[in-house]
Amino acid sequence: MTKEELLSKLKTIIEPYVQNEDGLANLSEETNFIEDLEINSANLVDVILDVEDEFNIEIDNDGMDKMLTVKASIEVIQDKLAAK
């Protein structure tokens, strides 16, 4: 899976939880889920569960710890996919 495909899938996953649509329109690797997209911190769990379902991977506590930005999330997903 290319990085672009991965980013596109991630964007679809986070969309329902985004409270700042401008942030979504300007999505980049630097985008922070809480600061830029105003995703409620309790909904980050839903993002993580949706990522697990979509990519058929399991995100452990170490992975979850980092998943606050698009960049970190892509890295975590790529790591887990490579380890499959």
């Binding site: 409620n40 911190s41 309790a42 980050l44 839903d46 993580i48 569960l49 979850m64 980092k66 998943m67």
Partner: protein
């Protein structure tokens, strides 16, 4: 050291389906999950424990100037305290039919915490007034800015102070906690 967190219960109910498979396990320890299922009102127990963890996260992040992380599982709740990486923070939680507000603290001086029921910036004005009264200063000399880790810092005459403040907003509610 201080942190606080507010949960708008009506909004939390529509924003999160905590009964979703895997949800509780990502956030809560086994004993916390037991506490939730044993509670008379499991919904309330979920948000009570969540707000205790969030308030403690803020106090801990401020105390050690930590970059933001997402590790609710590391914050282990007991009745009125939370332990994270060997540090124990006391917590005080207020529950009403509309919101849950938790304050977490360690070695406090004098804590002042308030909840506001509108979305305007009233709560910041109240906090500035409180600090100015306590310190005997004109409130115009006081400013609050967030640092790169999004931790709010209090400045007096543009000089950073060690006054500890914490803000939280969710739905219809806003809150602050200050220790000075």
């Amino acid at each position: 050291m201080i942190g606080n967190d507010i949960v708008d219960l009506a909004l939390a109910t529509t924003q999160s389906n905590w009964r979703r498979k895997g949800w509780l396990q990502k956030i809560f320890t086994i004993s916390e999950q037991d506490r939730i299922w044993d509670a008379l009102d499991p919904d309330l127990a979920v948000w009570e424990l969540w707000s205790m963890k969030e308030a403690t996260y803020k106090a801990y992040q401020r105390q050690f100037l930590k970059a933001p992380t997402y590790n609710p599982w590391d914050f282990k709740c007991s009745e009125t305290s939370v332990i994270v990486k060997g540090m124990q923070y006391k917590t005080k939680t207020t529950i009403t039919s509309e919101y849950i507000h938790s304050v977490a603290f360690i070695h406090p001086k004098v804590i002042n915490a308030k909840v506001f029921t509108n979305e305007s910036l009233t709560y910041k004005k109240h906090l500035l007034d409180y600090i100015s009264k306590t310190k005997g200063l004109n409130s115009e000399k006081i400013t609050i800015k967030k640092n790169d880790f999004r931790i709010p810092l209090v400045y007096i005459n543009n000089l950073q102070t060690d006054i500890k403040v914490s803000f939280s907003s969710h739905g219809l509610f806003s809150s602050y906690a200050v220790d000075l």
